[in-house]
């Protein structure tokens, strides 16, 4: 009984039917994902279709989303199992050595995409000429930064990620006497000056009382930003400092003072601080003579890493990124009249896997073709002799 069940499962996973159905599903997913990018932006569409186990859809007559299609994660997982079963099932003979290599290579390719899907982190770093930056920031995720600015030479930064803010409740800031009471979190909101008849934000301190706030649906398009906003009440030593409005839409940070320490509050893109820093020494934007067609962008950066006792110049330019401490920094954008350089930063621990896969598959195809060629030459020879 158990044996038949096991052999059935085995037969299911190694079947060609499964391969074809999965490849077809993957094709459909790729089509959906590509078309969805027009609306959702690349990151949004990839998360919805590829980096998920199911594609969810919210029907208007239901209060919860339902899975409507297998997502890239599920199809990829099944395809990997199918591939492994198939690879194990391929006759273990020299004649099939090529196919073995090809399919093993494909398994690694899929594994690479899984690792990327689960662990790849995309951030960026904007530096103006002459500026030194020791953090990368997220494209979309936000945080509430509470900064102790008392010491003019040193900022003590405490940050609360948006995911924690959206849960609400009270958040104690470690290392300080402050507790934040989150009154309301808006993932996206539109702010305006409070006019007659406007909806007051509910803030009682700082700039907030003069601002009207309206909640907006969140956006995922590459070109749009969520204006995350939060109403918080800092409490320290049993004393409330009023309700403050912090928002991506507000420029300058607002601050309050508690027992001689000045704390500033601001909403900003989530930062990850690095144990090293980059100083932009020069940014170049070359064009072809007599045109606006860009020929090259490059950033000359001084990398300073105290823990490695390292300080060196690096030129980051088109098709020539810097790989440093597990991160890849590449020239992505520019601004402020060519004085601001934007480096995109990717961290993917599985970046080597596609290379391994590529070598295996190419080798496998070569071996297979060689075997097939030898066989057909032999057949031709036999025909001549026979």
């Amino acid at each position: 009984m158990i044996k038949t069940l096991a052999s059935r499962i085995w037969a299911f996973f190694k079947s060609f039917q499964l391969t074809i159905v999965l490849l077809a599903l993957l094709m459909l997913l790729v089509v959906f994902c590509t078309l969805a990018q027009v609306e959702l932006g690349t990151a949004g569409a990839v998360n919805a279709y590829m980096r998920s186990f199911f594609v969810w859809h919210q029907f208007s007559f239901l209060s919860f989303p339902v899975p409507t299609f297998p997502g890239g994660g599920l199809v990829g997982l099944m395809l990997t199992l199918n591939l492994i079963a198939k690879t194990l099932d391929i006759q273990r003979s020299w004649a099939k050595a090529g196919m073995w290599l090809v399919h093993a290579g494909l398994v690694i390719l899929f594994a690479g995409e899984f690792v990327a899907g689960l662990m790849q982190v995309d951030t960026n770093m904007s530096i103006e000429v002459g500026q030194t930056v020791n953090y990368v920031q997220s494209y979309k995720n936000m945080e509430l930064a509470v900064i102790d600015t008392t010491d003019p030479t040193w900022d003590e930064v405490y940050s609360v990620p948006d995911t924690l803010l959206s849960k609400g409740g009270t958040i104690a800031i470690p290392g300080t006497p402050i507790t934040l009471n989150v009154k309301r979190y808006f993932p996206n909101a539109e702010l305006s000056n409070l006019g007659a008849g406007g909806q007051p934000s509910g803030a009682t301190a700082g700039i907030g009382p003069n601002v009207a706030i309206v909640e907006r649906p969140t956006v995922t398009n590459d070109n749009e930003m969520n204006m995350g906003s939060v109403l918080v009440e800092p409490i320290a030593g049993g004393h409330s400092y009023g309700i403050w409005l912090a928002s991506m839409a507000l420029g300058a940070p607002q601050s309050f003072t508690h027992e001689g320490h000045t704390y500033s509050l601001s909403m900003r893109l989530r930062r990850q601080y690095l144990p090293y820093s980059f100083t932009l020494k020069q940014f170049r934007h070359d064009v072809y003579p007599g045109t606006d067609i860009p020929k090259n962008f490059s950033s000359l950066v001084q990398v300073v890493n105290p823990s490695q006792k390292e300080s060196r110049e690096v030129l980051i330019y088109m098709n020539q990124p810097l790989r440093y401490e597990g991160k890849t920094f590449y020239q992505a954008s520019f601004g402020k009249n060519d004085t601001l350089s934007v480096l995109s930063v990717v961290e993917n621990p599985g970046w080597l896997l596609p290379y391994v896969s590529c070598v295996l598959v190419s080798l496998g195809l070569l071996v297979h073709f060689a075997i097939v060629l030898r066989r057909s030459l032999k057949r031709r020879q036999d025909k001549k002799e026979g």
């Binding site: 094709m27 790729v30 003579p289 007599g290 090259n296 098709n319 596609p354």
Partner: protein, 590 residues
């Protein structure tokens, strides 16, 4: 095949090559003027040094959709046209070269649309320029995808009229006495304003860099005059240019040709090599290898079709030799582009179409050598013809040898990733073309011939294997390029997805066949669908206008693509029509 037939067949191929050669020969003088020599003068435009001839052809192509036109019983070529625009605007303004198809735009300029009159001269437009500009400025802020038909048409007309206007005011201000007069009145009261105007409208830079300066610092006439007015001396090319201008306006061929020789002397002293590089490009322009190639492919295809009903022993090899001749012309054209540009063959959408056709033709030639049934020739000629037609239509938007934008500026990856993936496109299209041939043949051939059917399926199968290999390797190489330059192997960007679709589809066909789910006909139907996938991946993703790869949005192409997809679906239906529709038809009825 008899000896005579063999010679006749190869003779046809040689004849085609001779005709191609005639195209490359320089034309005679125009009314005594060495217009071709004028077209040879190097200029800096669009970031590269090119002959005036290229600028003339591309501008005329943009404005008129052709590289020449008939006027007053004569054919006016691009060089003569440019001479007229720049030196005799009063003549050029009367020539009806602006093509306008949109009825609303025609209505706007006050002419009634008639069957023959979609061509307007600059003089016809000139009284409506302000209105055209106003309407175009209203439409310009709207994204190209979202413009109405009228808005697209008016923006397009404005761009063409503006290009014409710029050409008119590049070497002399239209309506002024000419460049010689500018040189004499260098310090009069309005001179500075005129120089400013010449600088603003200059369509190109014709004054070569002076010794000791930046080697890329070509100047336009306005800049040259300004430098002269500020006491930096006369640029040595300005004097012969002024003489060219005066001689052409005064209809004096002898002085014109003499001034041209002097101009060439100045250019070769200031920028050695530019003249001969320009000359090579002019030969390439004149030869029009892709136009000649597509004409030869067309003839080859026709000859082959005739061979199925008339004198197959003579006509089939003739078609093959014509295809061979077409492939030689096509290859030479491709090689010339590689040399002129110093780049691998595929650099933009236009050149990808040229290369896809080339790949399909070469594959078809090989298939024909292996099977010798005429099918390889037929599909190769059809595929070569079709892709070069596509290329001709893609090439009407200006210079096809434009400079590469920063991220694409990598000859290594252009040569590996882009070329392999384009070969994958070629293979998938060729397999699809064979499948279409198979489907049509099933319906029109009366006798059952399983051997030929099997040969066709074998061809398609072999080519799909080939296409899978190249598209897979090309896609992975693309991933590696992305990892090398952006730090990520795969980002599900539309262009990457398009390439992946081709890999997946070819993999599905092969697995379905290995597993025995599809046989002859199923494989062929799937191969035809490969055409749809490849076309969508090639052009469709550019229409979405998202992602890092999207280079150029095309609106008219959308309709062409839709039409192509529908036609392929029809072919799939034809191929899949049940057996009673296509085998064992009674004789005499078919």
């Amino acid at each position: 095949m008899t000896f005579v037939q063999k010679y006749l067949a190869w003779g046809a191929g040689v004849l085609a090559l001779l005709i191609a050669l005639i195209f490359a020969l320089p034309g005679g003088k125009v009314r005594g003027f060495d217009a071709a020599g004028f077209g040879n003068i190097p200029i800096l435009d669009g970031g590269r040094v090119k002959p005036l001839d290229s600028l003339a052809r591309n501008s005329l192509l943009v404005i008129h959709s052709r590289q020449g036109f008939r006027y007053e019983g004569r054919t006016i070529g691009p060089d003569e046209w440019l001479l007229d625009v720049m030196f005799r605007p009063q003549v050029a303004d009367q020539q009806p070269i602006f093509v306008i198809d949109d009825p609303d735009v025609i209505g706007l300029i006050g002419a009634k649309q008639t069957k023959n009159r979609n061509y307007f001269s600059f003089a016809d437009l000139s009284s409506h320029l302000e209105e055209i500009q106003k309407q175009a400025q209203n439409a310009q802020p709207i994204a190209p995808q979202k413009r109405t038909r009228f808005q697209s048409a008016i923006v397009n007309l404005f761009d063409r009229a503006y290009l014409y206007y710029k050409l008119r005011n590049t070497l002399q201000l239209a309506g002024s006495p000419g460049l010689g007069w500018e040189l004499q009145s260098i310090s009069d009261a309005e001179a500075s304003a005129r120089h400013q105007e010449l600088m603003q409208f200059a369509a190109f830079r014709i004054l070569p860099p002076l010794p000791g300066g930046n080697p890329d610092a070509w100047k336009n006439v306005g800049e040259g005059l300004r430098a002269m007015a500020s006491g930096q001396g006369v640029h040595p090319a300005l004097v012969p240019l002024a003489r060219l201008n005066a001689a052409y306006a005064a209809n004096d061929p002898a002085s014109f040709n003499q001034a041209l020789a002097d101009m060439n002397g100045v250019v070769s002293t200031l920028k050695p090599g530019a003249l001969s590089h320009a000359n090579n490009e002019v030969v390439f322009n004149r030869a029009q290898p892709f136009f000649v190639g597509l004409s030869i492919y067309f003839v080859a295809f026709m000859v082959l079709c005739i061979s199925w009903i008339y004198k197959p022993d003579l006509l089939r090899p003739t078609a093959y030799s014509l295809l061979f001749a077409g492939a030689i012309v096509h290859t030479l054209g491709l090689a010339a582009r590689i040399i002129l540009q110093g780049r691998p063959p595929v650099t933009n959408l236009y050149s990808s179409a040229v290369f896809v056709g080339w790949g399909a033709v070469i594959l078809g030639l090989i298939v024909e050598r292996m099977y010798r049934k005429g099918f390889g020739t037929a599909v190769a000629a059809a595929a070569g013809f079709a892709s070069l037609i596509v290329a001709q239509n893609l090439g009407t938007e200006g210079d096809t040898m434009e400079m590469m934008r920063a991220v694409l500026d990598s000859n290594f990856w252009l040569a590996t990733h882009v070329v392999t993936i384009t070969i994958g496109y070629s293979g998938t299209f060729l397999a699809g073309a064979i499948a279409i041939g198979y489907a049509i043949r099933k319906h029109i051939v009366t006798k059952v011939d399983p051997e030929t059917d099997k040969a066709l399926v074998d061809m398609a199968y072999g080519i799909i294997c080939f296409a899978l290999f190249f598209s897979f390797v090309g896609t992975v190489l693309g991933g590696i390029w992305a990892d090398q330059s952006w730090g990520r192997f795969w980002g599900w960007d539309p262009k990457e997805n398009g390439a992946l679709m081709i890999v997946l589809w070819n993999a599905i066909i092969l697995h379905a066949r290995w597993a025995g789910y599809v046989r002859e006909r199923g494989t062929m139907v799937m191969a035809i669908f490969g055409n749809v996938i490849t076309a969508c991946s090639w052009f469709g993703v550019n229409m979405l206008g998202v992602g890092l790869h999207s280079y150029g949005f095309m609106d008219q192409a959308f309709y062409a693509l839709t039409g192509f997809i529908i036609s392929q679906l029809v072919f799939m239906a034809i191929c899949y029509a049940p057996a009673r529709f296509w085998v064992e038809k009674p004789h005499g009825k078919a």
